[in-house]
């Protein structure tokens, strides 16, 4: 029992970050599910994190109010952003949305009210791990309900062939915009939860590197299933901690080598499981069948 408590206390932050990263990965997945590579999630997370922190720190608002605002504000920003940028496709959409994230980051860097690059500190810790997982569960429930519904089929059609979907009478803009807005809400909520979990927010925590991380979570987990991004986020958040555990056993000193191993594991997943970790059971089944046929 005591051992269990010690383990929980040691890894509670990792547990929390798995959930936070899962939310962020899902926010990238929402637009990926209709074939759009939008990388605006870091910008939305920053808006959510700052909105919530300003409300609790400077205006003494309660945490639920702050979370609500942090979810709503990115949604409001996503509409005027999405209408023009969702007209462009592929890598150009990615570039435009990265630019949006950078605009948000640089805006915060130059905003004295929020201490510029130094960010907001001494934010009260109000997030509990269960709140994070409740948010993840609700997001997953919503995405699971979409599957097989009219909405879900429309999204799949847009992903496979946008022009064909349009000729079939699917209003592609509405669907794409709705998914961008949903992603913005998830990112904003994750940002607000993280700010009140880790005591501080700074603009550099929401740069380009962060959104690439989110994309990697989604891709490594697998974007063929709605729960793939959660699996990817869990795997990649736990991996550095597992390696931290293993390092002394095999005599690796803490430092760059740990990250090298991290990179190798990541690369092998991408090389051998191009559809992500969630495709592993299917791959194994396939292989077993192939073996039994030859035998």
């Amino acid at each position: 029992m005591e051992w269990l408590q010690e383990t929980y206390l040691t890894y509670q932050s990792t547990l929390g970050y798995i959930g936070l990263n899962a939310l962020l990965a899902l926010s990238v997945y929402t637009t990926l599910s209709c074939g759009q590579l939008a990388l605006s999630s870091a910008g939305f997370a920053a808006i959510g994190a700052y909105a919530a922190s300003i409300l609790t720190l400077n205006f003494g608002q309660s945490f639920p109010v702050a979370l609500l605002a942090a979810t709503a504000l990115p949604m409001l920003v996503a509409v005027p952003l999405g209408l023009p940028v969702l007209r462009i496709r592929g890598v150009f959409l990615a570039i435009a949305t990265i630019a949006f994230g950078e605009v948000v980051r640089l805006g915060l860097v130059n905003w004295d009210y929020v201490n510029g690059a130094q960010g907001l500190v001494a934010i009260p810790q109000k997030t509990s791990v269960w709140m994070i997982y409740l948010a993840v569960a609700l997001a997953l429930l919503l995405l699971a309900r979409l599957r097989g519904s009219k909405w879900g089929f429309a999204l799949e059609a847009i992903r496979e062939d946008e022009a064909a979907a349009r000729t079939m009478g699917i209003h592609t803009t509405v669907y794409k915009l709705a998914m961008l807005v949903l992603g913005a809400a998830l990112a904003g909520l994750a940002g607000a939860l993280e700010a009140h979990y880790s005591f501080m927010v700074a603009p550099n925590g929401f740069g380009f590197v962060r959104v690439v991380d989110m994309l990697v979570f989604a891709v490594v987990g697998g974007t063929v299933a709605y729960y793939g991004p959660v699996v990817g986020a869990a795997f990649l958040t736990v991996l550095p901690e597992v390696l931290r555990e293993l390092a002394p056993l095999v005599g690796i000193e803490p430092g760059p080598l740990r990250f090298l191993v991290n990179g190798v594991v990541l690369l092998s997943v991408i090389l051998f499981l191009p559809n992500g970790i969630v495709s592993l059971p299917a791959r194994l089944r396939e292989r077993r069948r192939a073996r039994s046929v030859t035998a």
Partner: protein, 372 residues
């Protein structure tokens, strides 16, 4: 007879095993250092300083039965892993004190956890003027803040060089350089030095010609720059290429031998405020330099401050009567007075920030030398 012989042998063996086991007490010190990510260069030096100090203290027997053990972990320069490392130190390794983390921004996220768990923390490289030791009474700091180094250094320098107009250049997208700029600005105002213009750059920038040209056109007497080392060398070299021969004053980011290595002769005439007087002939410093040389390491300020961090923890244990509990160490910190360290005589201020005399360095003949 035979039986008695066996008995006495057994007793001797039992005593031999029992005696040392009862005496020694191991005190674990956790060090959360950035050994990967953007701050990796600092973390590597800090690790060397900490290991050297722990070895020397254990060898010297100054703590009698207490043996120090350093547990070093990498925080990857991120707050996410910094938090994970702190929770590990607090709950799993059950360390008596924590040294670090390397970056101030990580400290804002990790130190509240140590404060909650009542584990003393010694910051050895956090230089943000506000909000570190304010976290609580378990948070102590060895590294001088920019606010403790820069104003004094600028004053000394003005006395020597007598400048009246300054051009200011700073990185505005980084917490450290922005904080340094704030300190520089108020220090220049206090000294009644006119600021002809302020220019900014961002961390990924490599070309500073536009900013420097516009600053130099206003004919300042000195360039005051707040930059990280990765930008500092380029700024210095490009200023010299544009024909600037006057003095350049830099913040703590300039305080790195890499500046001289990268900028070469252009670095001559660069002035840097420093917490560590490398050429001090104080015995503690010469001993430290010799021990570093024996390890084949060229120490910088980060290695030195990390080394002193361990010395301060050891002194706190001694002051607490050679007891290494978390609260013993915290109580011991308050009694650290005028401790001889490579940084000079070290004490804590009432707000738990460190206190010792800073110095001004100038690059001369390809070396950092102390401005006399």
């Amino acid at each position: 007879m035979r039986f008695a012989g066996r008995m006495s042998l057994a007793v001797i063996v039992a005593l031999a095993f029992a005696a040392p086991a009862s005496a020694k007490q191991t005190v674990k010190i956790g060090a959360a250092l950035s050994m990967t990510g953007p701050a990796a260069a600092y973390g590597a030096n800090q690790k060397v300083g900490i290991q050297a100090a722990v070895e020397e203290i254990n060898k010297s027997g100054a703590l009698k039965d207490v043996v120090l053990e350093a547990v070093i972990e990498d925080d990857a320069s991120t707050k996410e892993q910094g938090i994970a490392v702190f929770q590990r130190f607090i709950n799993k390794d059950r360390v008596a004190a924590i040294i670090g983390p390397t970056l101030s921004n990580t400290a804002y996220a990790t130190n509240p956890l140590a404060q909650q768990a009542k584990v003393p923390v010694v910051a050895v490289s956090n230089t943000a003027p506000k909000g570190i030791t304010d976290i609580g009474d378990y948070i102590w700091r060895v590294s001088l803040t920019e606010g403790q180094v820069i104003p004094g250094a600028l004053k000394t320098l003005q006395g020597k060089l007598g400048f009246k107009k300054a051009g200011v250049l700073y990185g505005n997208d980084d917490a450290f350089t922005q904080a340094g700029y704030t300190v520089m600005k108020s220090a220049l105002a206090d000294l009644k030095i006119e600021v002809v213009a302020e220019q900014t750059f961002a961390k990924p920038d490599r070309d500073y010609n536009a900013q420097l040209t516009s600053l130099l056109a206003l004919k300042p007497d000195i360039l005051v720059v707040s930059a990280l080392i990765e930008n500092a060398s380029g700024i210095v070299a490009q200023a010299r290429q544009l024909g600037w021969t006057g003095p350049i004053f830099g913040g703590n980011g300039f305080n790195n031998p890499v500046l001289i290595k990268n900028a070469g002769p252009a670095a001559e005439g660069v002035y840097v405020g420093t917490a560590w007087n490398r050429s001090s002939t104080d015995e503690a410093n010469t001993k430290f330099l010799a021990s570093m040389k024996a390890r084949g390491v060229d120490p910088d300020q980060f290695a030195t401050q990390a080394y002193v961090g361990v010395l301060v923890v050891a002194e706190a244990i001694k002051q607490a009567g050679n007891k290494g509990g978390r609260d013993d160490i915290k109580a011991g910190f308050a009694k650290v007075m005028s401790l001889s360290t490579p940084l000079g005589k070290f004490s804590f201020l009432p707000n738990r920030d460190g206190d010792h005399t800073p110095a001004v360095q100038v690059v001369k003949d390809g070396k950092f030398q102390i401005l006399q």
